[in-house]
């Protein structure tokens, strides 16, 4: 091996050879790994409960699961975007609460104009999101602290607006009834809303330059900045998006419960949303994750919770089971990756 030839460098051949070899594996890795595990877990959960109870795997119950996860799902979808940026929005539940109250109050005070109710809710959602973004980017407050603070503040605002009471009654209105109980092509309006928002956000993330820039910001914000991305603008916009989607979730809450709820139904949603995003494969340090994984995680958690209730498991055991299954699902997933067990996993 000491002779020297004037042959061309061997590089190109190596590159394309390796390329051909790696392709199927690459597809499996990039598209699959995380999601395959989740699909596997979903099949196990659905299979188990279907076997335990006839009522589980029925169209009616699947609709129930869909409706149940719609609100959490919306928040999880948008939380995914925030997490991909490397940030966190803990205030989504409170934002949904404000939006719920505002939609019902605006509806009532305009003598039953549903469109105005929704517009008002979305307006408030944008405002709340922009405040979050500005406090974080220009106030230099860590996202976790900032949104913990607005979690409390927005909840207080919702309670003050509503005087602590459920506001209005919207189920006299056709539109809200449609949202609460309507169906399109056999699927409920709530599930359609989730799907439409999820698909829109998915397209945004995967197929537009905006989405690519969001991944870049989360992956390495210095590099993103130096590559010419206006990261401040992006961050504020992402929080505003979170506000808008939280507002949509709030409107659904209003329709589901029939009145504007300042806190009831929206408290604790932030943890559910973050759990789903993380289980769906988002790295909390940013730059990684996708809507597909998050949705699967949302449905997995929803199918599990529903199943435990269908077979009538006591709520204390449900806590244990949910915690344990969450751990088991992730452990199996990670074992398959064969990652070395050193230090903190990402």
């Amino acid at each position: 091996m000491t002779t020297t030839t004037n042959a061309p460098p061997p590089m190109p051949a190596t590159t394309s050879g390796a390329h051909a070899r790696a392709l199927p594996r690459r597809v499996a890795t990039a598209v699959g790994a995380q999601n395959t595990s989740l699909i596997g877990a979903l099949i196990v959960v659905v299979g188990t409960f279907a076997w335990l109870d006839d009522g589980y795997l029925t169209t009616a119950n699947m609709t129930v699961i869909g409706d149940t996860v719609a609100v959490t799902g919306l928040l999880a979808v948008v939380q995914t975007v925030v997490i991909i940026c490397g940030a966190l929005d803990i205030s989504v539940g409170s934002q949904a609460g404000i939006a719920s109250v505002v939609s019902a109050m605006a509806f009532t005070s305009t003598d039953g104009n549903a469109a105005l109710g929704i517009l008002a809710a979305i307006g408030v959602g944008i405002a709340a999101g922009v405040v979050n973004g500005v406090v974080i980017v220009y106030g230099r407050v860590n996202p976790v602290i900032a949104t913990l603070a607005t979690l409390a503040a927005y909840k207080g605002v919702a309670q003050l607006l509503a005087g602590g009471r459920a506001q209005g009654y919207v189920l006299g209105d056709d539109f809200f009834i449609f949202v609460a109980r309507g169906k399109i092509l056999g699927l409920s309006v709530q599930i359609w809303t989730l799907f439409v928002v999820a698909v829109a956000v998915h397209i945004l993330l995967k197929y537009t330059d905006i989405g690519r820039n969001i991944y870049a910001i989360g992956g390495n914000d210095t590099a993103a900045r130096l590559a010419g991305i206006n990261i401040n603008k992006y961050l504020v916009a992402v929080y505003a998006l979170a506000g808008v989607v939280a507002a949509i979730a709030g409107v659904i809450l209003t329709a589901r419960t029939g009145s504007g709820q300042p806190t009831s139904g929206s408290e604790g949603l932030e943890l559910k949303a973050i759990t789903a995003a993380a289980l769906g494969g988002c790295a909390l340090k940013g730059g990684k994750g996708g809507i597909g994984g998050t949705l699967l995680a949302v449905f997995l958690l929803g199918a599990l919770e529903n199943g435990l209730n269908v077979v009538g498991v006591n709520s204390f055991w449900q806590n244990v089971a949910q915690g344990a299954l969450l751990v088991v699902a992730v452990v199996i997933q990670q074992r398959r990756n064969g990652e070395r067990a050193v230090g903190l996993p990402t």
Binding site: D53, D54, G55, Y56, T58, A60, N61, V64, I65, D67, T68, V71, Q159, A162, G163, G164, R165, A166, Q167, G168, Y169, L171, G172, A180, R181, L253, R256, T257, G258, S259, Q261, P262, T263, S264, G265, E267, G268, E305, N306, G307, L308, N309, V310, V311, G312, N314, S315, F316, Q318
Partner: protein, 326 residues
């Protein structure tokens, strides 16, 4: 100090003393963001203003630890009297000891507490702290009786009927209510109807989700009876049943609070929400403050128990009951 020597002086209902000057009262409430307790706080404030006393209302959430802290704070800040709705009756004895140590009379509101033991149901009568409000078991009983009436009226059979009892299962007073309702129902009907226990977080969406799942597991049931810890649970569960295809004639929901039930009735559409026990929080708050002020200002001893009016309401009569629907 060992902490022991501080709780020697009088019992909470000890010798009445009368005060002059501004009276400061602390009203400590569990779940202060729930509608019933919001009403109660409003009633208390209105009464305090009328009587010219200083009133501080504190929301304890579900936090027994905070209950202890806030009683301590009230003592440190030299409040003259404490009214408390404990998040859990087990914290009662500690609250009693602290209030006694601070020399302030203590009045229980809504939920019973016991002087020397964690469980008020096993408490000797003379050890119970004087109380204003409603009796949990009693409320449950009224709900169960009304449900029994409606059940008989509907002519359903136990075989194709099931009861949904929805409540937050780690809240003791909730458990007491639904159990009392079941007792009363059994007694009144003599029928053995299956009870499905649905654990919720006491909010409408959660009750709706959990009930919907329970319903999926019991599709053979034709008729449903629903009760729960509060209106949120019953309203959420009834909504789920309607969404699942059960008409208003197949559901008997008996609410507790009536503040959400009234919204259904106000719309004029038929609803499975057949009745609800109206408990007037506003009145309880006012009564508690009045009782405390009577004691502090005039030396009038606490009555062992004082009850505000409760009224079973339904679509036909709720508007006359004084119930305000927001």
């Amino acid at each position: 100090s060992s902490g022991k020597d501080e709780n020697k002086s009088g019992s909470p209902s000890g010798p009445p003393a009368s005060l002059s000057g501004t009276i400061k009262i602390a009203y400590l409430q569990k779940q202060g963001d729930q509608q019933y307790f919001v009403d109660e706080a409003d009633g208390a404030r209105a009464k305090a203003k009328e009587l010219g006393v200083d009133l501080k209302v504190v929301n304890l959430g579900n936090d027994t630890n905070k209950a202890v802290s806030e009683v301590q704070a009230a003592m440190a800040q030299k409040y003259n009297g404490v009214v408390i709705v404990v998040p859990d009756p087990a914290v009662g004895p500690q609250v009693v000891d602290i209030a006694t140590g601070g020399g302030a009379p203590l009045l229980a509101s809504d939920d019973q507490i016991c002087v020397g033991g964690a469980d008020p149901t096993k408490c000797a009568k003379d050890k119970l702290v004087p109380r204003v409000g409603f009796s949990g078991p009693q409320m449950g009983t009224q709900v169960g009786q009304r449900a029994a009436e409606e059940f008989k009226k509907a002519g359903w059979t136990p075989a194709d009927t099931a009861i949904i009892a929805a409540w937050k299962q780690d809240v003791t007073v909730c458990t007491d209510r639904v159990e009392a309702a079941h007792q009363a129902f059994k007694q009144a009907t003599g029928a053995d109807v299956k009870v499905l226990k649905v654990g919720t977080d006491n909010t409408p969406p959660d009750a709706q989700n959990k009930t919907a799942a329970t319903m999926s597991g019991n599709r053979s049931v034709k008729h449903w009876i629903v009760w729960g810890c509060n209106d949120e649970n019953v309203s959420g569960a009834v909504t789920a049943l309607h969404n699942g295809g059960y008409g208003s004639n197949d559901v008997i929901g008996v609410g507790l609070g009536a503040y959400l039930a009234c919204k259904d009735w106000g719309s004029g559409k038929p609803s499975g929400m057949k009745a609800a026990l109206f408990i007037n929080g506003h009145e309880v708050g006012g009564l508690a403050v009045q009782t405390m002020v009577d004691r502090l200002r005039n030396g009038k001893p606490f009555p062992a128990e004082a009850f505000a009016t409760t009224k079973m309401v339904d679509p036909s009569n709720w508007q006359q009951s004084g119930l305000k629907c927001t």
